[in-house]
Amino acid sequence: MYQHTRLSKGSFSLFQKFKSFDYILLACILLLGTLSLTTMYSTDGGKVLFHTKSHFVKLVTFTIMMLIFSFINIKFWFSIGYLFYLIVIGLLIWTYYFGIKASGSQRWMDLYFINLQPSELMKICIILCLAKYFHRMKLENVNSIYTILTSLIIILLPMGLVIVQPDLGTSLLISISGIAVLWFAGINHKYFIYTMIGFLISLPFIISFLKPYQKLRVLSFLNPDRDPLGAGYQIIQSKIAVGSGGLFGKGFLKGTQSYLEFLPEKHTDFIFTLFSEEFGFVGSALLLIIYAITIYRIVVIGASSRSYFAKIFCYSFAAAIFVYITINMSMVLGLLPIVGSPLPIMSYGGSSMLATMIGFGIVMSAKVHSQQAIA
């Protein structure tokens, strides 16, 4: 094994840390932030109103937080993996009993200055926790019953806590984050295939357990014209918004679908429709490319990391981000039923941004400390 004398010192100078920053990733994040602010400004009807201001404050705060996180040694993130997970589980339980109820579900906890959604944090800390769990595991042990059961419990526990809120969308995203880690950790691909087959077979039964409004979403996904003013309204209007954007879009602040309030949830889950309506195919493709570069950079950082923990974390985080983007866009473009899933960074919502920024922070820390090995 290599022994770098520099590494044994345990830390580098601040200047070196700055130097080893991934500036491309940082630029992408800042660019996304700017785009999201611009879009938010448009949702406010071309004025700096509540959403724009609030989004700006969060963006700045969390970007600074991300930068601070990136200076913290990757070893630290490794060491707090389980603790972080447990804390968030605790928060979820707290939310279950004392959370704030809003629009039919109990997802938020009141922190006086901010309403936190612990389920969003769970998306990131489940990766952290599982990455730590698999870090030291020998490959032959990975497929043991004990390991699989333990990791399944780690995934199912928060899932269950989120489902009872009820918030099916987020719980699915949490499980996908978890499954991504299992995949990279090297669990036999047969299990994934079996699970997939099992899922598909049991799909009809799962649907029968869905709540009426969720069933309606599935039905209206299959045929939006079934109830164009009711359940199908969101899908139809969002497709109209995207489709009417054309090649170059209707122009900034000129999206009629959003301006005239035809778009539902335009600040949060459907922010992409507004962006797409105003900036067209060119703008949307550009946004997708920025996301692609972001993900690519995360993967590159993972590949160049020395520690197995950092690798798993980066790969899984990249996969998770990719899945979030894909699910959100597919939903907006009418390729998937409507599930509540925000578009990372673009969507309005503090908890989601906090979780994403923590993720980026850890990735950045992995880059800065890429030569750091973890015992």
Binding site: M1, V242, E261, V299, Y308
Partner: protein, 624 residues
């Protein structure tokens, strides 16, 4: 530290392999998303752009402005006036209850109409216009304007509406407009196309049949609206076309005179130009004020019109099927002459009654006329003479001539949907319609215009005109420069075999009016300028019994419904005829005492106004 090197290498291999799989998967999914975006935004762009416009752009149509109708001299007989309306937009009113009760007080609205307004308010969206009143009096309108300071959100609006300045004079010709109902919309494409709530369309008369020309097209306002239907901004205002104006051939003065002459009586007067077929006057009495219908007629007014025993709702000129009585005699005589049955020397002895086929047929004169020739028989309207020639002629030949002269068919073709055809019977008709053979006795009474034969006043007028112009076919018209109607080719084709026959009939009609013993001698005008020729008629409403003949009651002694209809046809001036007239007074008693004097007054006026009528025409051509 990773110390077990083989394990760590394996682990690295595994994770890198899986990363590779994941990476390629991501790439394909990303491509899939981009192609979906491309599909929606570039390929299907047009479809979604249209849908988006459909979402955001909404049209508001405004009621079109109807074309005016003028008389021959350019007087407006169906015009547009500015109606004062009161609109309220509930959303803009701070305290709706206060404002609406205040309005109720100011306008003195009845509880019923007030409730109607409140009901309408609940049906519309708060930003839509609520019409509180659609035709305010000037007094109320100014009252509202004076109180506007505490009526926030109330808008006094001036809108355009129909009015008929000559009231009952033209009702049956031009009809009236009223709010369109479902039937109107369904049956007429152009109404459907231009429909807006509150649109007024023609319900009867020319207003109905010429809807296509009169209606015009909507002003269209295009607004951008939001998801809740609220108007955000006006995008476009497309001015509509005003409906085409119409000029009628009718002379308002004559029309008014006809109304005065028939005052308090049921009947009809038609005046026609015998060469052009232009209708100079066409009135059916009693009439009613069409303005009552424009904003919806009140229940009381409607009952009054509907239950009037003289039936103002019936257009007697076109819908009234009357027995022509003696006014058919010129046609009977003409037919007999044409068919060579008689000549001017043919005489019949009238003894007051005649036995034919075991039936007694009475002449109107009990004592009889003695020996009468054609000219005398027409002049004195001897029934016996016409029984005889009808018998000789036969009903089939008679009906042929009658049909040639326009009886038994619609005069205005499709212009008025209510127009009746009348009935000219013949043997074939009776077989088909009643399934019975023709009886000779029926021929005999047809000869004096009784029995099955039925004519409308306008048909009688056309018949007279065609006799007066020397026996040439004309097509009556009521609209000057009617674009919809081409002049038929057979206009002015001769209807006679021998022009001499027409002259004989004309001469006989002259005698009937201008010579002693003539039935309308008392109504003659001796001044050759106004001198006219005519034929009286008295149509029985019920069969005259022997008892009636014995009683020989005067008209006023008979109950109204059983009195005879009085008819008169005439043309003049005799030397150079220009106009034909037909007069029918329902239950008027006797043609010579009731109908003929009206014709006298009409001719005076018609011929006096002839110069003016012609000069208008000349001037028109000079202007061009």
């Amino acid at each position: 530290m990773i110390n077990s090197s083989s394990d760590s290498v394996k682990k690295l291999n595994s994770i890198n392999r899986r990363m590779f799989i994941t990476g390629s998967l991501k790439f394909f999914i990303m491509m899939g998303l981009i192609s979906r975006l491309f599909f929606l935004q570039v390929k299907e762009n047009k479809k979604y752009l249209t849908l988006s416009d459909k979402n955001r752009i909404r049209e508001w149509k405004l009621a079109p402005v109807r074309g005016e109708i003028y008389d021959y001299f350019g007087n407006v007989i169906a015009g547009n006036f500015e109606a004062y309306q009161l609109h309220v937009i509930p959303e803009q009113v701070e305290d709706f209850r206060y404002v609406i009760y205040r309005l109720k007080d100011l306008l003195e609205l009845s509880d019923k109409s007030f409730k109607k307004v409140l009901k309408k308010k609940n049906e519309i969206k708060p930003w839509e216009t609520l019409i509180v009143s659609d035709n305010l009096s000037w007094e109320n309108f100014s009252k509202i304007n004076n109180h506007l300071y505490d009526l926030n959100g109330v808008k006094p609006v001036i809108s355009i509406s129909r009015n008929y300045p000559f009231k009952e004079n033209f009702t049956h010709v031009i009809g009236y407009v009223s709010q369109a109902n479902e039937n109107d919309i369904e049956n007429n494409e152009i109404i459907k196309k231009n429909f807006v709530p509150g649109l007024k369309v023609g319900k009867t008369g020319l207003e109905k049949s010429l809807e296509q020309q009169l209606i015009g097209s909507n002003d269209i306002e295009r607004y951008e609206v939001n998801a809740y239907g609220r108007r955000i901004s006006q995008l476009e205002f497309q001015k509509g076309q005003k409906g085409e104006s119409l000029r009628l051939t009718i002379d308002t003065e004559i029309q008014k005179l006809a109304n005065v002459l028939l005052k308090d009586q049921a009947g009809s007067i038609c005046v026609m130009d015998i060469y052009s077929g232009s209708i100079i006057a066409m009135h059916s009495s009693p009439s009613f004020d069409p303005n009552l219908f424009v904003f919806g007629i009140s229940k009381d007014d409607w009952q009054l019109i509907r239950n009037d025993p003289m039936k103002p709702l019936v257009n007697k000129t076109l819908q009234g099927n009357y027995s022509p009585g003696s006014t058919i005699k010129p046609i009977v005589a003409l037919s007999a002459l044409e068919n060579g049955i008689i000549n001017t020397n043919f005489t019949v002895k009238c003894t007051g009654k005649t036995e034919l086929y075991g039936q007694t047929y009475h002449c109107w004169k009990k004592k009889g006329h003695g020996f009468v020739s054609l000219r005398n028989a027409m002049k004195q309207s001897c029934d016996t003479y016409f029984y005889e020639i009808a018998r000789k002629l036969g009903v089939d030949k008679l009906s042929e001539t009658a049909k040639k002269f326009g009886l038994g068919d619609k005069v205005f073709d499709k212009l008025f949907d209510i127009e009746k055809k009348g009935l000219v019977p013949n043997t074939q008709w009776k077989k088909n319609a009643l399934g019975k053979g023709w009886l000779l006795g029926e021929t005999i009474i047809t000869g004096i215009g009784q029995g099955y034969i039925q004519t409308t006043p306008i048909q009688l007028c056309l018949m007279t005109a065609q006799i007066a112009n020397g026996g040439y076919k004309i097509y009556p018209k009521i609209i000057v420069d009617d674009k919809n109607k081409d002049q038929p080719d057979d206009k002015f084709t001769p209807l006679y075999e021998n022009p001499e026959n027409i002259r004989i009939v004309q001469d006989a009609m002259f005698g009937s009016t201008n010579e002693v013993m003539g039935t309308s001698y008392r109504s003659r005008i001796s001044d050759p300028k106004y001198q006219f020729a005519g034929k009286t008629g008295t149509a029985q409403v019920k069969k005259i019994t022997e008892r009636d003949r014995e009683l020989d009651l005067k008209t006023f002694q008979i109950p109204y419904e059983e009195r005879d209809h009085a008819l008169y046809i005439a043309y003049g001036p005799y030397k150079h005829p220009r106009y034909a007239v037909s007069v029918i007074v329902e239950h008027g008693g006797n043609g010579s005492t009731t109908a003929a004097p009206m014709a006298k007054k009409l001719f005076k006026s018609i011929i006096d106004r002839h110069e003016l009528r012609v000069s208008i025409n000349n001037k028109r051509y000079m202007d061009i």
